[in-house]
């Protein structure tokens, strides 16, 4: 094989080798799985039903004096 042939093979090998060095910059985001535990009675209630009571409680107890 002449010098040009060796050079071509080396270039192809280098290109193929370097292409393996590519790193995906995208972040892998793991989504939470579907809850597999027992049902919470709090989940069956409408949060809007307790919203008013909790807001009232907040006004009584936690607002600045």
């Amino acid at each position: 094989m002449n010098t040009r042939g060796i050079l071509a093979v080396a270039l192809v090998t280098a290109a193929a080798g370097l292409s393996g060095c590519y790193e995906d910059a995208d972040v892998t985001v793991h989504e939470p799985g579907k809850y597999k535990g027992a049902a919470d009675p709090l989940l069956s209630q409408q949060a809007s039903a307790r919203e008013e009571a909790l807001a009232k409680r907040f006004q009584i107890v936690q607002t600045d004096r």
Partner: protein, 195 residues
């Protein structure tokens, strides 16, 4: 829809630890487990600040994302809870949580972990509301009673606020405006200050 959140105002926290005591007492938290703790920044240095930290009930909770048994769930109003019957105490959630909220009671020798325990926003867990089973495993369910977490309600300086995020943000914004500027407990000046 309200989203339940905690906020600790570092300008008001006096490191009295009443929130920690209130939490432990209300929920009968076992020895060695702290659902809430007070962290002091620049302890002993003039201008030191304290903040009370527990589970922040993240909107996109990393603990739930890494749980191999999918024992986490989020209520409609944003409270992150878990099922202890399903939890295997693997500790992944502890590594994922940026606040160090998940705690594990040590059950045996050689550091064998028990089921994970964390702040429930005083909302209990899967068993029937305010049943003995719920109280033993998760503590008091004050949310079902129309009350807010005791740690926040107990705070004498109103540094720790817990409730609807919008209401809390409104109070905090007014405080910052009254003080005349943004606190530098966190932020650029703290991150890049000469040590």
């Amino acid at each position: 829809m309200a989203r339940m959140k905690f906020l600790c105002d570092a300008e008001r926290c006096i490191e009295c630890n009443a929130c920690v005591v209130a939490c432990k007492n209300e929920n009968s938290v076992p020895w060695g487990v702290n659902r809430r703790r007070v962290v002091v920044l620049d302890d002993g240095v003039p201008g030191e600040k304290s903040i009370s930290v527990a589970c922040m009930h993240c909107t996109d909770a990393p603990c739930a994302a890494v749980c191999p048994v999918d024992c986490f769930y989020t209520t409609e109003d944003g409270i992150v809870l878990h099922d202890k019957d399903l939890c295997i105490g693997c500790g992944y959630c502890f590594y994922a949580c940026p606040f160090g909220a998940p705690q594990y009671p040590q059950k045996e020798a050689f550091g064998v972990r028990g089921k994970m325990d964390k702040c429930t926003f005083c909302a209990g867990g899967p068993p029937a509301d305010n049943s003995d089973a719920e109280y033993k495993k998760y503590g008091r369910n004050r949310i079902a009673e129309g009350k807010l977490p005791l740690c926040a309600e107990f705070c004498s300086t109103k540094a720790l606020l817990g409730g609807d995020g919008d209401m809390i943000a409104d109070i905090y914004r007014k405080r910052v405006l009254k003080r005349g500027g943004r606190p530098q407990t966190w932020g650029w000046e703290t991150a890049y200050k000469a040590s």
